[in-house]
């Protein structure tokens, strides 16, 4: 992901307790100068011991980024602007050169931008590279080749004796090194070495062997006091031709993950006067921030560092705040909704037994109201809008609304029964910019389909039309019932025959009468899961909607773990999506008809009490879900709790999976 995506997410919170206005300006400068660099993650280094709200900024490049980075550096004016950037460009060049020893041994390179130098307009980086492949007692010429590019051959040669001594001192300790860097941005006359993680005893004995001149017993006592929180430490120090620096850094992660552990550690640090209260609150806010749904950026803490002064006394505690694309923490909602459903109409000429809509009073959503929501969705960078009914095609402004979605950069999908659909309608939908066309069909034969849906012939004719027109994006919505699970293989064969791209396996939600007849049995769920698991990869994909969480839990069960975890594991109402009903009111989901009074999606997303409750149901899991083996891997449809029991915080009494397990 490019740095400007990370920086955009970082600068959204202008009221941050961790970054002040000036710091935001530095971030903007970074986005302008370096925004196109691809990076795996970024780190913001903040000083917890002081109230100042500034951060050094760094990014990690891995092998997949190196060619693009070299290309970027060569085509930007940076390499011409300073010797430091020229050195970084040269390092990237030998990293990309497959013939060099550096190419195969270095997995990561880090660039760090010092706040002060960037604030003063000196756009220079510090640079670090991975040295985990370095071995004691020789064979490390490749490392000096890289160092020579950064420091120049003379200084690199000058430090070699000292660096070799530091590396050789690791022999017999079964330890490795982590990274080596040069503070080019600070014009330092030294190289900074980071070890891999060590126990307290290993670290202090290593420092003793290096003849560190600081207060070793004092340091050992300090590290011992931290042992309830920390198991291993990474040591960093500067190496010059005169020896190693008195100033050292002790880097560490916490023994246990979780926000409560971080807060507990910061309380400890506060008591030691190493963390000010504002920063502790700021860290809580950093960790609580919902991830960006568009770029999938997640916040966490990479590690902490104690900066030790020459007397061996901790001078500062720093936190390294990380933004990355791999989520390392649980979260229950995105910062903004990723998708939305708009109920266009409650009119429909068909009479499906399973219908979710109250068709007794056919109404359409007001076009201007719908467009208003689409405009808001565009401003929130929403990715998809599902347009549903009733029968979507009877809504008179369908194409105009689809075009409005396209205009705002949003993919608009439609669900159709097949009623009124023909080549001409397809042409109009495609011209308007429709995304996926979902055809509702519950059986491969009329007899199977009619038990839950009307309009079998219409649906099949629609599929034939889509195939005949070589349509690029059409799918089948198939709802599982007790009467059609056995027919699923035939349904899949029908989908293959008509060139369908995807069959979406859907859960039956409470119908318009708030009833749940004909749910699949446990045996049927197992049968369905087994078929889906064994279905070979090919042009047709079978996917299970998130609402059908028990089935996802069955399919996700593997030997090591159950893969159905995280925000996508089940009900996503108020977590990644919401809905607009035919009356133009916001609701958590089209099946969860609890109207919000606010027309602002952003405010509803942030402030709705119902959404807050939906995001916290796992904190108070009720029976029968609480006693189920799949509890961690399933989040049932909240419409079941709401429509069948009248409350959100309720286990799913209708779940066949649970009932079979606990019989």
């Amino acid at each position: 992901m490019k740095l400007h995506h990370y920086l955009r997410h970082l600068t959204q919170d202008k009221e941050s307790l961790l970054f002040d206005e000036q710091c935001h300006r530095v971030f903007e400068r970074l986005a302008t100068a370096l925004g196109d660099i691809e990076s795996q993650e970024t780190i913001q280094e903040i000083d917890l011991s002081m109230t100042g709200r500034q951060a050094d900024y760094s990014c990690r490049l891995d092998k997949t980024d190196r060619d693009a980075t070299l290309d970027f550096l060569r085509h930007s004016s940076l390499a011409q602007s300073s010797p430091a950037w020229k050195a970084v460009t040269d390092l990237c060049a030998i990293w990309c050169d497959e013939q060099s020893g550096v190419s195969s041994r270095v997995s990561n390179v880090w660039l760090e931008m010092d706040y002060e130098s960037w604030q003063q307009g000196r756009l220079e980086p510090c640079v670090f590279f991975d040295i985990s492949q370095v071995c004691p007692r020789g064979g490390n010429d490749w490392m000096y080749q890289a160092l020579s590019v950064l420091l120049g051959p003379e200084r690199s040669a000058m430090f070699r004796l000292r660096l070799d001594a530091c590396i050789d001192a690791l022999e017999g300790r079964n330890r490795q090194l982590f990274q080596l860097g040069v503070m080019l941005g600070r014009q330092a006359e030294s190289a900074r070495l980071f070890t891999s993680d060590m126990t307290r005893e290993q670290l202090t004995s290593y420092l003793a062997e290096l003849n560190w001149s600081g207060d070793l017993p004092g340091l050992a006592a300090k590290l011992e006091s931290m042992e309830p929180f920390v198991r291993k430490f990474i040591l960093d120090f500067d190496v010059t031709n005169a020896g190693i620096s008195e100033k050292i850094g002790i880097n560490f992660g916490l023994r246990r993950s979780g926000d409560a552990t971080v807060d507990e550690f910061l309380a400890f640090a506060e008591a030691q006067q190493l963390c000010v209260a504002e920063k502790r609150t700021g860290i809580r806010e950093w960790l609580a921030a919902a991830p960006d749904p568009a770029a999938l950026i997640f916040n966490d803490i990479s590690h902490f560092k104690l900066a030790i002064n020459p007397a061996g006394v901790p001078k500062k505690l720093k936190a390294y705040l990380r933004q990355g694309s791999v989520p390392r923490r649980q979260f229950t909602a995105f910062a903004r909704p990723r998708m939305m459903n708009i109920e266009l109409t409650t009119r429909c000429p068909l009479h499906c037994p399973q219908c979710y809509c109250d068709l007794s009073q056919g109404r359409d959503i007001d076009l201007e109201s719908a467009k208003g929501f689409v405009r808001q969705a565009g401003a929130l960078q929403m990715q998809q809008i599902n347009l549903s009914g009733g029968e979507t095609l009877v809504y008179p402004h369908l194409c105009e609304l689809i075009a409005c979605c396209r205009e705002h950069g949003i993919r608009a999908n439609v669900a159709l029964s097949g009623y009124g659909f023909d080549t001409e309608v397809l042409r109009k939908l495609r011209n308007a910019g429709v995304g996926g066309i979902y055809i509702s069909l519950n059986g491969s034969t009329e007899a199977v389909n009619r038990q839950s849906r009307d309009g079998y012939d219409l649906a099949v004719k629609a599929l034939a039309t889509l195939q005949q027109e070589n349509d690029p994006d059409y799918l089948i919505n198939w709802v599982a019932h007790r009467h059609n699970v056995g027919n699923f293989p035939a349904m899949v064969a029908l989908a293959e025959k008509y060139g369908v791209k995807t069959v979406v396996v859907m859960a039956f939600k409470p119908d318009s009468r708030h009833e749940l007849p004909s749910l699949p049995s446990h045996e049927q769920l197992v049968y369905l899961a087994d078929f889906i698991k064994k279905y070979p990869a090919g042009p047709l994909k079978i996917v299970i909607e998130s609402c059908f969480s028990p089935l996802r839990a069955l399919v996700g069960q593997k030997f090591f773990v159950n893969l159905n975890q995280g925000i996508g594991k089940g009900c996503q109402a108020g977590r990644d999506s919401l809905s607009v009903n035919v009356d133009g009111k916001l609701t958590p989901c089209r099946h969860l008809e609890i109207e919000g009074n606010n027309g602002s999606i952003a405010e509803y997303w942030r402030q709705s009490e119902v959404l807050r409750q939906l995001r916290t149901v796992e904190q108070d899991t009720r029976t029968p879900c609480r006693s189920c083996n799949y509890e961690r891997y399933c989040l049932h449809c909240m419409a079941v709790s709401w429509k069948m029991h009248g409350e959100l915080f309720k286990g799913n009494d209708f779940c066949e999976l649970h009932q079979a397990i606990n019989r």
Partner: protein
């Protein structure tokens, strides 16, 4: 290649590691590892799973003894050398909280197709 060296090599192959998470029995895991010249017993695989579950699902800290064997991503457990791995933990971390790891992204994409 020694067994330990083979393990080190295998667990640097992210695609292979992710493939292990798709397997449903310890015997399948054993066969996959054997295909990469790593010999482990089914019991060792079961022990590795228990550690993984302890760490990733229950949020429990591993003991010093359990962690003592951690070298380059490989955990040595009593009775033999085997798996578990920082690479594996990274993959799990990604999917455990959903949406970002390779598997997590699949789940998210699948979710996008539903919800009608």
């Amino acid at each position: 290649m020694t067994n330990e060296a083979a393990i080190q090599a295998v667990f640097q192959d992210e695609v292979f590691v992710k493939g292990l998470f798709e397997l449903e029995t310890p015997e399948e895991v054993q066969a996959a590892l054997r295909g990469r010249e790593v010999e482990v017993s089914v019991d060792e695989i079961r022990q590795a799973r228990e550690l993984l579950v302890k760490r990733m699902e229950k949020g429990e800290e591993l003991t010093d003894e359990e962690l003592e064997g951690v070298t380059g991503g490989v955990i040595c457990i009593a009775g033999g050398t085997l798996l578990l791995l920082t690479a594996m933990s990274g993959v799990i971390a990604g999917m455990a909280v959903g949406g970002g790891g390779v598997i997590g992204i699949l789940v998210t994409q699948m979710a996008t197709n539903g919800k009608w």
